[in-house]
Amino acid sequence: MPFQMRPDEILNEVKTFNEKLAQGMTNLMEVGEISSGVTPFEVVYTEDKLKLLHYTGTTEPTNKVPMLIVYALVNRPYMTDIQENRSTIKGLLDAGQDVYLIDWGYPDASDRYLTIDDYLNGYLDNCVDEIRARHNVDAVNLLGICQGGAFSLCYSAMHPEKVKNLVTMVTPVDYQTPDNMLSHWVQNIDIDQLVDTIGNIPGEMLNWTFLNLKPYQLMGQKYLGMVDVMGDSQTLKNFMRMEKWIFDSPDQAGETFRQFIKDFFQQNKLLKGEVQIGNYTIDLKNVTAPVLNIFAEQDHLVPPDASRALKGATGSSDYTELSFKGGHIGIYVSGKAQKTIPPAIGEWLTARS
C-alpha cells in the first residue's frame, strides 16, 4: 500500500510542523516594513494620480532611444523591480536602456468614468510626448506588460509615428483560445450590470478571480510550503514581498473595465480589428514598428497561444518571438528570467534603435 506511516511518524511530522510555525511567527513579526521597488528613480511627470518614473542606472544608457514601460492596471508595477537580485528594471538598465515606467496610481470613485481612451490618448500619450520632448526624439521604445501590452498595441496602432520599437510581454491578443480560463469565466457575467452597480471594480474582486485560477496551490499549498522556510529571514522577507504585491490590487476604473472585458474578453475585438477607442478604430495592421513578442510557456493567466496570436496580426515586417520556460510572474522574478529576458530585450532594442 502506498501510504506507509506509523502513528509516531505522523506525530513527529505534526510536532515539527508546529515548531516551525511557532518559530516562524516570531520571525514574521520581526520582518517589519516590506519595501517595494529597489531601483532609484525620479518622478518626471505627474497628471491626476499618474506618475511617470525615470529610473537611474549605475551607468549611462547606451541606447539613445528611451524606453517606456506600460504596466497593467490590475496590479502594481513594482513587480518589475521587486528586489535587488530580482529586477527586470535593473536588468534593462544594465542592458543599456534608458527606462521610464508609468505608475497609474490607485483609482478612486472620482475616476469611475475614466475610459480606455482617457488612459491611452490622454495619460499614455502625454507620457510619450513628455519623454519625446525630454530626449528630443520623434519616437520611443514601448514595452507593454500583460494588459499594458494590449494597451501598447492599441497605442501603437493609433500613434505609429511615436513608437520606434514595440516589446510585448505576456500580452493577450487572442482572448478566446480554448485554454483561457479567465475568458471562459467572464462570458456569462453581465458586465454592464456589474459596472452600473458598483462603479469601480474592487481589487478584492480581481484577487478572488486570480486566486481561483489555481485555488489549491495559491490559497493552500503555497502557505503550507512557506512554513518550511520561515526560519530563514531573507526567504521569508522575499515571500512577504510577493504576498504584498499579490494583494496590492488597485480598484479598476469602471468604464475602462467595462470596455476591456466586453470588447477584449467577451467579443475578442482586438484580433478582429473592431476595438473602438475614442475616434480611432484599432487595426493592428497599423502597428508598423518592429515587434518583439515575449510570452511564458507555463502562463496560467495569459496562455501562450493568446500571445502567439500576434504573429501575422500586425503590419510590421520585423516580428520576433521569444518564449520563456516559466510562468506569468516568473518571467519577471525568477533567477532564470533575470539572466535571459532583460538582456535579450536590450540586445533586440539596441540593434533596432
Partner: protein, 370 residues
Amino acid sequence: MADWSEEMMKNWSDAQQRYWNAWSDLSKMGQPQAVPNFGAGFGSGFGAAPAWTQGLEQWWKAVSPHTVPGASTDAFQRMVEMGKVYMNLAENAYKVQQTGSNGTDAMNAWMDAMETGFRQCCGQLEMGKFTAHGFGVGQAALDSWQRVLGSMGMQAFQQMGAGGFHMPTSENWSEQLNKVLGTPAVGYNRESQERLQALAKLGANYQEAMDDYLKAFAKQGIESVQALRERVNTLRSEGKKINSLRELYDLWVDVNEQVYAKFAMTDEYQVVYGDLVNALMALKQGINAELDSVYESANLPTRKDLNAAFEKQQEMRRENRTLRKQLQELSRKVDALAAVQNTAPPAAPAAPKPKAAAKPKTPSASTKNA
C-alpha cells in the same frame, strides 16, 4: 518589533511558551498515542483522539491578539488556516493508523470520509459546515469571497453561512419563501412592501446562486476523491510509496488542481460563476436603490447624484486635456515664429507677395475617424 508594547510582548511570549511547553512535554513522554494538552478546554491527554486542529486554533486565538495588524499577520493567518487543514489530515491519518488498520484500509477510510463530506454538501444537508472541508483549502477560499463582499460595503453578508444568508436550504423552505414573496402587497404601504418583497427575492436568488456554486465545488470534490483513488492505485501498481503526510497533502493538491482545471473550463462552471456574480450584483443594485430612496427622502446626496458629478468632472478633465494640448501646440508655433523672426534678415522696403500659411497638421493615423 518596535510597534509592540511591553505588555503585548509579555502576553505573546507567554502564549508562545505555553505552546512550546505542550509540545516539549509530549516529546519527552515519547508516547505516540498522546496529544499535547494546550490548556483547559482543549486537548485531552493520553489515549484520546488527537485534537491538533483545535490545538492550533487555540494557539492562534491566544497569540493573534498580540500581533500587529498588517500584511504579515494576514499572511500568517492564511498559513494557520492551511495548517488547520493539514492538522485535520494528520488527525484522520493518525486515528486510522492507531486502530491498527493496514495502509490500504487507512487510505480508503480517509478518502471515504472526504467523499462523504462532499456528498453531504451536495445534498445541502450541511451547507453551513461547508467551510470545514470545503474546497480542500479550508476557509481561505471563502475568506477571499468575503473580502469581495466587504469591499462592496456588504459586510452584513460576510458572517452569514458561506457568504450568503444563513437560511435553511431545503427545497420546501425555498418554496414557502417564494410563496410569501409572491403574495400581493396591499394597503397604505403597498409600494414599500412591494419593493421589500422584490429585494427579499433578490436575496433569495443570491442564496440560491451561492448554493449552486458551492454544490458545484462539492461535486468537484467528489470527483477529486475518485481521481485520488485512481492515482493511489497507480502508485500501488508502480510499487511507489507515500512516506509522509506532506507527500500525501501534495498529492491531494496535485489531483485537485487537475480535476479543478477541467471543471473550471466546463459550461457548468461558467454558468455557476456568472450566476453568482450576477445575482450578487442584482442584490447589491436593489440595496443601493433602497438606500438611495432613503437618502433622497432625507435630502442627502445619492449615489446617482455623485455619479453625475463624477461624470461631469471626467468631462471637464477631458476638456482640460484638449485645451492643454492646444495651448502647447500654439505655444510651440509661437516659439517657432519668434525664432524665425529673430533669425530673419531686416525687412526689405517693398515686401514680396505673402505665401499661404501652412495648414495645421492633423493626426496622421489612417484610422482616425474624426
